[in-house]
């Protein structure tokens, strides 16, 4: 691996970690279901950037790009299905607060 690739890796990697932690903080610090989903998507963005970065560092960008395309399809389906679940839960409970979802509590 040449020096430029190492420099790019070290420039990007702190931001990738911070982006992931921001998403994680968003998921952990809230009770709102939609905000949890937004946090998960932010984590997803960090992973996308990391995959492209890894492909760039290894010189195998073609594989990295094809994996990112698959990841994006998964991302959309995640949002759609989770959105459907959230709307259903809202219609049943009248709220998006996870503390109100106690139906399955043993």
């Amino acid at each position: 691996m040449n020096d430029t690739a190492i420099q790019v890796l070290w420039t990007y990697s702190p931001f990738v970690v911070m982006l992931f932690v921001a998403g994680l903080y968003c998921m952990l610090g809230t009770y709102n279901l939609i905000r949890v989903l937004i946090g998960a998507e932010l984590c997803n963005k960090a992973v996308t950037l990391l995959i492209i970065l890894a492909g760039h560092a290894c010189g195998n960008l073609a594989l990295a790009q094809s994996i990112v395309v698959t990841l994006l399809a998964i991302e959309v389906v995640l949002v759609v299905v989770a959105g459907g679940v959230i709307v259903c839960l809202y219609r049943h409970h009248g709220s998006l607060d996870v503390r109100n979802l106690r139906n399955l509590k043993g």
Partner: protein, 164 residues
């Protein structure tokens, strides 16, 4: 590299705004901006195909789905919004501090300049992402088709009218 650093800082600012905005719609707009800046970064890393997908899906489709979900659920009064804003700021005020500590830690690690060992590609490695996607990764395509089917059912559920 300076341009990359600027873009990365903007990416982080947009992400922090996404997390800290009290209104969900503002959060979603922040998310779309994050995706758009990420697209520029992906283009700068010589991955145009992934960049185009990221722009159309990440900055276009996903925010629309979020807005649809918010529109189908949220009904906030002004008082509730104000209460939520105060509560939200209290909960998320530590985020910039956490990120700053994390940045210092990672930068300290990078100062050590740890040697990174990455496997080098074989000389005959395929460089066209389209060939890799269609010819070498059949199972991914199959998985995507199944997932999109699941997504179609999700859309049906999302926009289904309530009975009665």
């Amino acid at each position: 590299m300076t341009m990359d650093l600027f873009l990365l800082v903007f990416l982080l600012i947009a992400a922090v705004w996404t997390v800290m905005a009290a209104r969900l719609l503002a959060s979603v707009i922040g998310f779309a901006v994050t995706s758009a800046i990420l697209t520029i970064l992906i283009f700068r890393l010589n991955a145009p195909l992934a960049g185009v997908f990221e722009l159309s899906v990440g900055a276009g489709l996903i925010p629309v789905l979020f807005v649809a979900t918010i529109g189908l659920t949220q009904r906030l009064t002004r008082e509730k919004l104000q209460a939520r804003r105060t509560d939200h700021l209290r909960k998320f005020s530590y985020l910039p501090l956490v990120l700053a500590v994390l940045a210092v830690l990672v930068l300290a690690l990078s100062r050590l300049y740890l040697p990174v060992n990455v496997a080098q590609p074989q000389p005959g490695v395929e460089t066209d992402p389209r060939v890799v996607l269609w010819n070498l990764r059949h199972m991914d395509i199959l998985g995507q088709i199944l997932l999109l089917l699941a997504g179609a059912f999700g859309v049906v559920q999302l926009f289904k009218e309530k009975k009665g």
